[in-house]
C-alpha cells in the first residue's frame, strides 16, 4: 500500500506541473516568449524541462518501487 501512496503522490505532482505549464502558456504569453538567448525562449526551456521532469519522475518511481520490493 506504500507504493499506492507513492503512485498517487507522483500522479498529483505530474498533474499539477502539467496543468500549471499549460495554463501559463496561454495566460502569461509575454513570460513564455521571453528570449533567454538567441533561439531559446522561456517557453522552449519549459517544454524541455516538463518532458525531462516527466521522464525523471518515472525513473525515480521505478527505482523506489524496485528498491522497496527487494527489501
Amino acid at each position: 500500500m506504500r507504493s499506492s501512496k507513492m503512485s498517487f503522490l507522483f500522479s498529483i505532482a505530474l498533474i499539477v506541473v502539467n496543468v500549471l505549464f499549460l495554463f501559463t502558456i496561454v495566460s502569461c504569453q509575454d513570460l513564455v516568449s521571453r528570449v533567454l538567448f538567441p533561439g531559446l525562449t522561456l517557453g522552449i526551456l519549459g517544454f524541455i524541462a516538463v518532458i525531462t521532469f516527466a521522464v525523471l519522475l518515472t525513473w525515480i518511481y521505478v527505482r523506489y518501487v524496485n528498491q522497496s520490493e527487494s527489501k
Partner: protein, 501 residues
C-alpha cells in the same frame, strides 16, 4: 510524390510484416497466445510495442507538421501526448497485470458484479476503439494517397486487408512484432533526420530556432496562434493525459508481459522512448520550417502532415524520403492492428464469454469469435473509412481520448484503489463519463462551428475533459456512498493481495 524507391520501400514493408505474421501464426496456438502473446513478451519488447501502438502517423507526421507550421504552439501536442505515460506507470500498468487477463474490463470487474461492469466497459471500449480506428483509417487513406499516389479507396482496402491478416493469423504475437518493427524503424528515421538537421546548424540546436526566428520573426517562438483560452488548453491536456491511461488497446499490452515488474519496466522504457521521439519532433518541425519552408509545406497539405517527408526529401534525397514514407505506412499498420485486436477482444472476451456464454463456453470458441469479430471490425472500418472520405475526423480522436479519460480511467481507479467503490458507482461513473463526453463534444465548436458550420455553439470548449473527468469521479463516489455492495467490499482484501503479489 511516389517514385520507384518509395514504392520499393512500401512493398518491402508489406512483404516483411506479412512474413512476420506467417511466423507468428505458427506460435499462436491457445487463447492466451492470441490475446496476450502467451504473456512471454519481455519488458523492453513490450515497451517498443507500446511505442508502436501509441505513436500514430498523426502524432509523428502531424506533430512535426504542427511545429513546422505553427512554431512554439505546435510543441504543446507532443507534450500532452507524453504526459499520460507516467500516469500509466504510476496507476495502471501493475494493477492491470496483477488483476486482469486480456482486457481492461477484467481488472475493473475483479471484485465487482461482472455482467453490468463488462457491458458498460465493453460499450465505452468499443466507442474508444471505433472512433480511434475510424480516425486512423481516414487519415491512413489520405496519407497513403498523398505519399504513394494510390487512390483513396484502394489505400483503405490495402490497410484494412493487411490489418485483418495480421490480427486474424498472428493475433497479439504478430501485432507485437509489427509494432516493435515500426518503433525501431521510426526511431532510426527520426535519429537520421535529426542528425541531418543538427549537422546543418553546426550541432547547436538553438541555432536552428534562431534561424527560424531570422526567417519568420519572433512570433514563431511565441504562443497564442493555436490556443487562446487557458482552460480550453488545460481541458485538452487533461483529456490527453487521463485518456492515454484509459485507451483499451494500450492497456491490453500490459497482459503480454510475464509479471508486474516487467509491466512497470515496460511502462518506464515506453515513457522514455516516447519522450525522446517527441523531443526529436521539435528538431524535425523546426528543421522542416527552416529547410523546407512553411509555404511549401502548407502547399502540399494545410495541416502540415507532409513536413517530415518533405524534410527527408530536402536533406536525404529520394532514398530517405522512401524510407520515411515506409515508416509512416508501418506506423499506420501497427496502430490499426492494435486497435482491431483490442476491439475483437472486447467483443469476444467481455461480451461473448463474460456476458453471453459465461460458463458454457466450448474449447476454442473464444478465439473463433475473436477472429470473426476481427473480420467484421476490419470490413466495417474499411467501409466507414470510405464513407467518411474527405470528412474532418480530428474530432473522433478527441472523442476517443475524452471517453477513455472520462469513462475508462475513473472506473479503473475507483474499482481498484477505493475500497468503498460499488458496482453501481463504477457503472454510473462509466456511463456518465461516456455520455457527457459524446454530448459535450457534439455541441462544442469543433462539431457545431467547424463541421456543421453553425454561427455559434452551445459549449465553448473544444474538449470537455476538465468537466467530464471530475464529473465521472464525483458521480462514481456519490453513487458508491449511496449504495451497498458487500461482495465488492469483501473481495477488496483479495484484490490488495493480488496487487502486491
Amino acid at each position: 510524390m511516389a517514385d520507384t524507391i518509395t514504392i520499393f520501400f512500401f512493398v518491402a514493408m508489406i512483404i516483411s510484416t506479412l512474413m512476420l505474421t506467417f511466423f507468428a501464426a505458427r506460435k499462436t496456438k491457445i487463447t492466451e497466445d492470441f490475446y496476450a502473446a502467451g504473456g512471454k513478451i519481455s519488458a523492453f519488447q513490450n515497451a517498443l510495442a507500446l511505442v508502436g501502438d501509441f505513436v500514430s502517423a498523426s502524432s509523428f507526421l502531424g506533430f512535426t507538421g504542427l511545429i513546422a507550421v505553427n512554431g512554439f504552439d505546435g510543441l504543446i501536442y507532443p507534450l500532452m501526448g507524453l504526459m499520460g505515460w507516467p500516469l500509466v506507470l504510476f496507476l495502471v500498468a501493475e494493477t492491470l497485470r496483477n488483476l486482469g487477463k486480456y482486457t481492461f474490463a477484467d481488472a475493473v470487474a475483479f471484485r465487482m458484479r461482472p455482467i453490468p461492469i463488462r457491458i458498460a466497459a465493453a460499450i465505452s471500449s468499443m466507442m474508444c476503439t471505433l472512433f480511434y480506428l475510424l480516425a486512423q483509417m481516414v487519415g491512413a487513406g489520405y496519407l497513403i494517397q498523398l505519399i504513394f499516389g494510390i487512390p483513396y479507396v484502394t489505400a483503405e482496402i490495402i490497410v484494412g486487408a493487411v490489418m485483418i491478416i495480421y490480427v486474424l493469423f498472428g493475433g497479439m504475437i504478430a501485432t507485437t512484432w509489427v509494432q516493435m518493427t515500426k518503433a525501431v524503424l521510426l526511431m532510426i528515421g527520426a535519429f537520421i533526420l535529426t542528425y541531418l538537421v543538427w549537422s546543418k546548424v553546426g550541432w547547436n540546436p538553438f541555432e536552428l530556432t534562431h534561424k527560424a526566428v531570422e526567417i519568420y520573426g519572433d512570433d514563431i517562438l511565441a504562443p497564442g496562434k493555436l490556443y487562446s483560452n487557458s482552460w480550453d488548453l488545460v481541458s485538452l491536456g487533461l483529456a490527453f493525459m487521463f485518456g492515454t491511461a484509459g485507451l483499451p488497446h494500450i492497456l491490453m499490452r500490459f497482459y503480454t508481459v510475464p509479471d508486474k515488474t516487467a509491466a512497470r519496466k515496460s511502462a518506464f522504457y515506453a515513457t522514455a522512448m516516447i519522450g525522446l521521439i517527441y523531443l526529436l519532433t521539435f528538431f524535425l518541425g523546426f528543421g522542416a520550417m527552416v529547410y523546407v519552408g512553411r509555404d511549401v509545406i502548407a502547399n502540399f497539405d494545410k495541416g502540415g502532415n507532409m513536413a517530415a517527408l518533405l524534410l527527408a526529401q530536402a536533406l536525404g534525397g529520394p532514398t530517405l524520403l522512401g524510407y520515411i514514407a515506409a515508416v509512416a505506412f508501418a506506423t499506420i499498420l501497427a496502430v490499426v492492428a492494435g486497435l482491431t485486436l483490442s476491439g475483437a477482444a472486447t467483443i469476444s472476451h467481455d461480451i461473448w464469454v463474460g456476458v453471453i456464454r459465461k460458463k458454457t463456453l466450448k474449447k476454442g470458441e473464444e478465439v473463433k469469435v475473436a477472429k470473426i469479430a476481427t473480420i467484421v471490425l476490419g470490413v466495417v472500418s474499411i467501409l466507414l473509412g470510405i464513407i467518411f472520405q474527405g470528412q474532418n475526423v480530428a474530432v473522433l480522436v478527441g472523442l476517443a481520448f475524452s471517453i477513455a479519460a472520462s469513462s475508462n480511467f475513473p472506473a479503473l481507479v475507483l474499482s481498484t484503489y477505493w475500497k468503498r467503490a460499488t458496482t453501481q458507482g463504477v457503472v454510473a461513473s462509466m456511463v456518465v463519463g461516456g455520455l457527457s463526453s459524446v454530448t459535450l463534444i457534439g455541441v462544442s465548436p469543433t462539431v457545431m462551428i467547424d463541421i456543421l458550420h453553425c454561427e455559434s455553439c452551445w459549449f465553448p470548449f473544444k474538449n470537455p475533459g476538465v468537466f467530464t473527468i471530475p464529473a465521472s469521479f464525483v458521480l462514481g463516489i456519490v453513487v458508491s456512498l449511496l449504495t451497498k455492495d458487500k461482495e465488492a467490499e469483501t473481495k477488496y482484501q483479495t484484490l490488495c493481495k493480488r496487487m502486491s503479489n
